[in-house]
């Protein structure tokens, strides 16, 4: 049995390792789109801030790891898939055959539809190569514009400020990080970021980037243009599905899969940021593009590749954690709430703390927080474990910070005796 995995991020690597564990004799080829050891994009901000070196970004620290598990890691880019002949064509003209194929090609930063984004000096911070280019440019007092105030922009802020850059964030939406926080939390975050020395322009759109002497000028839809030496587009990511247009593989926001993470073609699976996988909260399918989901996908897809239909995925819980210059925020599941659900909010503006819990009947269904990070994982346990809260729902509505006590009380109460 020959397994071919396209993409060497967390989904691809976990899939390869799962396949090796379940099928000691299989051939496993892991095709990486970048000429690097498999690495974690999540570690890039810590590389930029000089907390770690490049080896610190590797998904597996031991250089012999893949060899030892007989996982053949190669570098190459897929041009097209010939599913009739179970073969992929690479852009260097070579071909690879497979019995089972896993597409774990990840996502890429969205290119903002703005004239001038192709100029030198406009650099996304997504790959190791791009991080190196940005690191070479960073110097004290360098004026930097971040296009977008989402997850990636926030997590880059620490590194940029640490390296002495003067940062302006431009966000089209009225508030920061709209994918993981509501306006209440976002306005606190904005005040925090401004207090730490970055400028935040929400409700502003970049209209044009143009050369300006040695640097760039960033023109906005209103207000003064910004001078910059480096512009980092950080306006979200999209699944890498372009090469699949004529493959016959079903596509929607990402690659369409069933609960076994199988595509519409029997021996082709998808996992990670590229897969529109099962979502725990809605019961539907969505692209989540988060690390824990990529890992789950990799393991479940690989199990089904070698043990036909063994695992049916009930859904990944969408969740995030973000450290913006020391202020930690989280979001879990249906944190926006349901129209007929119950909710509770705890706001401490002076203490930089916020907590939001969402309930549906007897269950916690979502949570988001700012400045509350101790034991916060238990929100996942309560939501995904569908823990019946009983009298603890009333207590949580009164004292929302007591999530851990609620979990302990209700899990002990519900545990079978004897």
């Amino acid at each position: 049995m020959q397994h071919l995995i396209v993409g060497a991020g967390p989904a691809g690597v976990h899939a390869a390792e799962t396949l090796r564990r379940l099928d000691p004799d299989a051939g496993i080829l892991l095709l990486s789109g970048e000429a690097e050891p498999p690495y974690s994009r999540m570690a890039i901000p810590y590389l930029l801030s000089r907390h770690i070196d490049e080896a610190g970004t590797w998904l597996r620290p031991s250089p012999e790891h893949f060899q030892r598990h007989r996982i053949d890691v190669r570098h190459g880019l897929v041009e097209r898939i010939d599913s009739t002949h179970n073969r992929i064509h690479l852009n260097d003209g070579s071909r690879l055959d497979y019995d089972r194929l896993l597409l774990a090609t990840g996502a890429s930063p969205r290119q903002p539809p703005v004239a001038g984004v192709e100029l030198p000096g406009v650099l996304p911070c997504w790959t190791l190569e791009q991080a190196r280019a940005i690191a070479r440019r960073l110097q004290p007092d360098l004026p930097v514009v971040l296009m977008g105030a989402g997850f990636i922009a926030c997590i880059l802020l620490e590194a940029l400020l640490r390296r002495g850059a003067r940062v302006t964030i431009v966000e089209r939406e009225p508030h920061m990080v709209p994918r993981m926080m509501n306006p209440t939390a976002a306005s606190m975050l904005k005040r925090w970021v401004e207090a730490k020395g970055a400028r935040v322009l929400t409700g502003h759109a970049v209209e044009l980037i143009e050369p300006n002497g040695d640097g760039l000028r960033v023109c906005l839809d209103h207000g003064e243009p910004l001078e910059a030496r480096l512009v980092i587009p950080a306006a979200g990511v999209s699944p890498n599905i372009g090469f699949l247009r004529d493959s016959g593989i079903g596509l929607d926001q990402g690659i369409v899969v069933d609960r076994h993470l199988r595509t519409n073609i029997d021996n082709i699976f998808a996992a990670g940021d590229v897969a529109q996988g099962p979502d725990f909260s809605s019961g539907g399918f969505q692209v989540q593009a988060i690390q824990p989901t990529a890992v789950e996908h990799g393991r479940i897809a690989a199990t089904n590749m070698t043990r036909d239909g063994a695992l049916c995925h009930a859904g990944s819980l969408n969740m995030n954690v973000l450290d913006t210059l020391g202020l930690i925020s989280t979001s879990f599941g249906n944190w926006r709430g349901a129209p007929d659900g119950e909710q509770v909010e705890l706001l401490d503006e002076a203490g930089w703390r916020y907590l939001n819990l969402q309930f549906d009947g007897d269950h916690l269904t979502g949570a988001s927080s700012l400045g509350h990070s101790d034991h916060i994982g238990v929100a996942r346990g309560l939501i995904q474990g569908r823990v019946a809260l009983g009298e603890w729902k009333t207590r949580l509505l009164r004292e929302p910070t007591r999530l851990m006590e609620a979990w302990l009380a209700r899990s002990l109460a519900a545990a079978p005796s004897g």
């Binding site: 824990p292 995925h313 990070s373 346990g381 995904q384 999530l403 979990w407 302990l408 079978p416």
Partner: protein, 159 residues
């Protein structure tokens, strides 16, 4: 047989000696907020529940780590944070459904129970044997750990 922390909440008086001992063992100072084991207070019921990582088999923290900074020490049955590898991304702190791996602002890394390398300071410090380090069995803490693991796993993936 591997040993585990066996916790009997009925015996806990809420004295917090375990938190003190844990913090001193790992941080060199008495600061309960840095303890890996925490005692939760239930005013309504008038009881206390000490709680720390159960070293669960699913190892959600280890699975979610993007840089292999959490390792499975099988001789001791412990999931251990490798400080030199941890970048402080905190993904494990939301992935652990039991809330028992936490970020330490002081160190910029995550912290969790490591059973003190086989001689847990909390168990030594507990004056009422509410916390014992003993053969893993089917009572108390172990029962809770299995139930909890099952309830989450069932929601995640089944045949």
């Amino acid at each position: 047989m591997q040993k585990a922390l066996l916790i009997d909440p009925d015996k806990c008086t809420g004295c917090l000696q375990c938190e003190m001992a844990c913090s001193f063992e790992h941080e060199g100072r008495f600061n309960p907020s840095r303890s890996r084991i925490r005692v939760f207070t239930f005013h309504h019921e008038g009881c206390f529940v000490p709680y720390a990582c159960t070293q669960c088999a699913d190892a959600w923290c280890l699975q979610a780590c993007p840089v292999e900074a959490i390792v499975d020490d099988r001789t001791l049955g412990v999931k251990r944070v490798v400080d030199e590898r941890c970048v402080g991304c905190k993904v494990c702190t939301i992935a652990c459904p039991f809330g028992t791996i936490n970020y330490s602002q002081a160190s910029g890394k995550v912290i969790k129970c490591d059973l003190c390398g086989g001689d847990p300071a909390c168990a030594r410090a507990c004056p009422t044997t509410a916390i014992r380090y003993t053969d893993a069995d089917q009572t108390g803490y172990e029962k809770m750990r299995r139930w909890a693991a099952r309830s989450i796993t069932a929601a995640e993936a089944t045949a």
